[in-house]
Symmetry: C2
Subunit: 254 residues, 2 copies
């Protein structure tokens, strides 16, 4: 029995990927904290490394025409790392269901303290048909899922009523990713740009949620609509000029 | 004599800093190449590491109120690294004169081939008085300078005649650095955003020059004026709404 249990535990820990990086000064914001887009880029790169190491990577282009796309992202952190801190990201597959896969992360500082948690939902896209591909019955992915409780609230329902945009952004070259669409880490960046630097010296965006609805392309003009729900909770919608929904999100300051 | 020469050579090589990084997929542009802002951030971080290791770092804030500021940057590269490439940056102080210090870099790929060269000019700013501080007579900096020929053309004289801006950008939160000014790597990003994605799949911005003239701040609106000088050479000026010059630059596609 003990042997069985040990075997199971080792097996679970083998499914967890651990990746470290140092916080560089030129990746910090005006409040001296690691920026969300740079943290987010590390999250994406770790997801890819973890998938590569565990046999379920799909780097575009490939013969199966498959690529992982982010559907939801929630980043919670009461403390954002500062210059020269050594940070470890731990990541694992939490659940595989229908056409989605939940991936979770812990953000750990050099003292071993968990300073942040991340919940993300991914789909496997067939980039020829632009449709969700599903994972197949004998996917290696399901074997990778582990039953580890992260303790992060589910994403909120986002509803924005205001009809006047808080900001407009035209998609430029530096917004684009390898596939020629707006990089998924640009949306939290756009959302955070709706606030002034004072918001970041007075507090910290302790929870950020992003829903990815449609891709946006070079030259498209994104309109950002924002409603303040509670004292420090903001709901945001990004739409194109002709009303196509692109992304929704929540920012909560603490 | 041979011993003398050996000693000198070792001494020079000790003055050179070598720093490596891997090109991550989410740091690549729509043409699959490492982006200039991400490369530039590595250049800045290497400059700081090299200065720290050689005793002339000034990380803001500090008791002397000194901080390094970038005055000029020239990045030349015929080949920009792609996903998963392992890149080494070599950097050294080239020359110390008046209130300026020239720093140079080589960008080396995993086969040992130099794929890029960087020339940069720095000044030491007293951030209380906002004036150039100079290096003092007994600076450790001059001892660090080495007479190594990089072979990169001097920056061009930039003159833009057009009166119609090619683009306008309002400085947002994500543009700001630790000091609350627009991050120096944002200017090459703004310049490159004047071109469409097709320019980057058809060619490569093989030479980028940036002159840093004045700092810009949150909420300021930058106007970008651009003249095409030769078939693939573009001269750019960034000014605020009221005509204050902020930055000038050149982009040459190959």
């Amino acid at each position: 029995m003990i042997q069985e249990k040990d075997k199971e535990e080792i097996s679970d820990s083998e499914k967890i990927g651990e990746y470290s990086f140092d916080v560089m000064p030129f990746n910090c914001d005006c409040a001296g904290r690691l920026t969300i887009p740079v943290l987010g880029t590390h999250l994406l790169n770790c997801a890819r490394k973890h998938a590569l190491e565990h046999g379920f990577d799909h780097t575009c282009p490939n013969p199966e025409h498959l690529t992982w796309v982010l559907s939801r992202l929630v980043v919670e952190s009461d403390r954002r790392p500062r210059i020269d801190e050594h940070i470890t990201l731990r990541t694992w597959v939490r659940r595989v269901y229908r056409n989605f896969c939940d991936r979770e992360y812990e953000i750990i500082d050099s003292t071993g303290t968990t300073i942040g948690k991340v919940f993300s939902v991914w789909a496997l896209l067939d980039y020829k048909t632009r449709r969700s591909a599903g994972f197949g019955k004998d996917s290696v992915l399901e074997e990778q899922a582990i039953d580890k409780e992260l303790g992060i609230d589910s994403p909120r329902r986002v509803r924005v009523k205001t009809e006047t945009p808080a900001a407009v952004h035209k998609v430029v070259y530096s917004d684009l990713d390898l596939n020629g669409h707006t990089n998924s880490m640009k949306y939290p960046e756009f959302f955070l740009n709706l606030f002034s630097p004072e918001a970041y010296t007075a507090g910290i965006p302790a929870r950020i949620e992003v829903q990815y609805i449609n891709e946006s392309r070079y030259g498209e003009q994104l309109q950002f609509y924002m409603d303040q729900k509670e004292e420090a909770e903001y709901h945001i919608e990004a739409r194109t000029d002709d009303g196509k929904p692109i992304s929704k999100g929540v920012v909560i300051f603490k």
